[in-house]
């Protein structure tokens, strides 16, 4: 016989516990943020494979790539950056694999092909690993539910036995006790993970750099790249200004001259008549010139 509690606790299925009925399966005590009903990219990928009735090991994953991409796209904004990244990494790998399949029977002598094969193997390996843990987690769920049908005796000592207990020895005075309270109540320090602060230099907005360049070039007409970047605080800013120049060049508002290879690059302000002659503000020109391609750079959490 099975209690309502235990029975309710058990039926967690694997792949089909998804989609239409998925929401019912989220227990009331759910504490995880779920992305569109999925616990991460592997979970989604497994579901899609199941939907297309493909064995994971058949290496025919390209058929689910479109689904995966569509799902990622459908999420729209509102994703946690970490989560979105992990989805995108897998989407990119899937796209690579699909692209490889579309090419005429390719040889694998190419280094890129080898890298692709390896990326595929790693993705499959990780997917299989995830699937294994997912399967045993369902078994654990069953074991937990089964064990929950038994309750341990957990009662206080009979009074005569409680009296046999030796006197408690606190072994400390009020001051030491207060010190313990302070350390116990103090906020716990965050997990000492690997700091990535040094990796994420403050983001540089190409659009802002373009505005600076336009302003200077309009005033001076011609400047070397060296002069345009001598006040750049970091390599990242130099790169940002270089990208901005490329954008401005594409838009036809600047031209380049370089006398010799590796020599100084001279940048000339040469806008078409309508753009340069008027009182157009530098930011507006920059904004027009620099397309969305670079505009989406997220603002840094805080300027260093």
């Amino acid at each position: 016989m099975i209690t309502a509690e235990a029975a309710e606790a058990v039926p967690r299925r694997l792949e089909q516990a998804r989609g239409a009925e998925g929401s019912e399966l989220v227990p009331p005590t759910a504490f995880a943020v779920r992305v569109g009903g999925f616990e991460g990219p592997f979970d989604l990928l497994l579901s899609l494979i199941a939907k297309h009735r493909i064995e994971v090991t058949e290496l025919a994953l390209h058929t689910v790539t479109d689904d995966f991409i569509a799902h990622v796209r459908a999420q729209g904004p509102g994703w946690d950056l970490d989560e979105a990244t992990s989805f995108l990494v897998i989407a990119a790998t899937l796209l690579d694999l699909k692209a490889a399949r579309l090419l005429p029977d390719g040889s694998v002598e190419d280094e890129e092909d080898l890298a692709l094969l390896e990326a595929r193997d790693v993705l499959f390996a990780r997917l299989l690993q995830y699937r294994a843990f997912k399967e045993v987690s369902a078994l654990l769920d069953g074991m937990l539910a089964d064990a929950a049908r038994r309750r341990a005796r957990d009662v206080g000592l009979e009074p005569w036995l409680a009296e046999l207990l030796p006197e408690v020895l606190l072994g400390l005075g009020p001051q030491e006790f207060a010190a313990i309270a302070e350390s116990a109540l103090a906020p716990r320090p965050p997990e000492p993970g690997v700091s990535v602060a040094h990796v994420h230099a403050p983001a540089v907005s190409v659009r802002e750099q373009a505005a600076i360049l336009v302003e200077r070039l309009r005033r001076r007409g011609t400047l070397t790249f060296r002069a345009l970047t001598e006040d750049a605080g970091s390599t990242l800013v130099v790169v940002g200004r270089f990208l901005a120049l490329l954008e401005l060049y594409r838009d036809g508002v600047v031209s380049f001259e370089q006398a010799a290879a590796l020599g100084d690059l001279t940048v000339r302000w040469s806008p078409p008549d309508d753009a340069g002659a008027g009182a157009a503000d530098a930011r507006a020109i920059a904004a027009r010139a620099v397309t969305d391609e670079f505009a989406g750079v997220p603002a840094p959490p805080e300027e260093a």
């Binding site: 016989m1 099975i2 459908a74």
Partner: protein
């Protein structure tokens, strides 16, 4: 897959799962099918193979002596029938020379250790208990002392670990006691006892040294817990 398929089309789960992937599902389904078992809802469902087993299971968990009316309500049988079974079990344990004993005390029934096993159980209790508290117990006691009355859940949130076992030890040692329930959550609240004051060598909670400023107070703590 066709280009331009709508988002809803690609949502998974609409079709039955691939049996290859699902695997090892027989026991799952078995349990799921019992979920709808109406038996549990029948007013006279015992919920155990026999009345004897039902009484034994319930009494095993009883911390305080359980009166027969309550027991009869739980097992859904007449009081007279339940009384006969319980007395029968008690006599049987005695006859079989069990180390446990089902006895009627203060109008209720509870499992006790048998009197002639007193030596071995007192040895167990005395030997097994350390006079000194563990660090975990001290920290929990400190949190209760400075934030009383407080529920187990909030202590857990502060310590970041489950504290049920430690709290039970502190209760058994008489250092803390229950202090009603929290209005909203119905969680049992805990406070320190007079024995605690005695063991710490103070006569009043006001004599506890004040804590440094930076320690979050109870209200902030509550916010943190709620947001967590």
């Amino acid at each position: 897959m066709e280009q331009g398929a709508g988002v809803t089309d690609v949502l998974p789960g609409a079709e039955p799962a691939d049996p290859v992937l699902v695997g090892r599902q027989s026991e799952r389904e078995l349990v799921a099918s019992v979920t709808d078992d109406d038996d549990a809802l029948l007013p006279d469902a015992l919920g155990a193979p026999t009345l004897e087993a039902a009484c034994e299971a319930v009494l095993l968990l009883a911390d305080q002596p359980l009166d027969l009316v309550s027991l009869a309500a739980v097992v859904r049988r007449p009081v007279e029938q339940v009384e006969a079974v319980v007395r029968g079990l008690s006599a049987q344990y005695t006859e079989d020379g069990r180390g446990f004993d089902l006895r009627e005390v203060a109008g209720g029934w509870r499992f006790y250790t048998r009197a002639d096993c007193a030596q071995v159980v007192s040895r167990y209790v005395v030997d097994g208990q350390q006079a000194r508290l563990t660090q975990a117990a001290l920290e929990t006691l400190a949190i209760i002392a400075y934030r009383q009355p407080i529920s187990r859940g909030r202590i857990s949130a502060v310590r970041g670990v489950n504290v049920d076992g430690v709290v039970r030890t502190l209760l058994t040692r008489g250092l803390i006691e229950e202090a009603g329930v929290e209005p909203g959550s119905q969680a049992t609240l805990l406070r320190t006892s007079a024995y605690f004051l005695e063991r710490l060598g103070i006569s009043d909670l006001a004599q506890l040294p004040p804590l440094a400023e930076h320690v979050p107070n109870y209200d902030e703590l509550g916010d943190l817990v709620d947001r967590a």
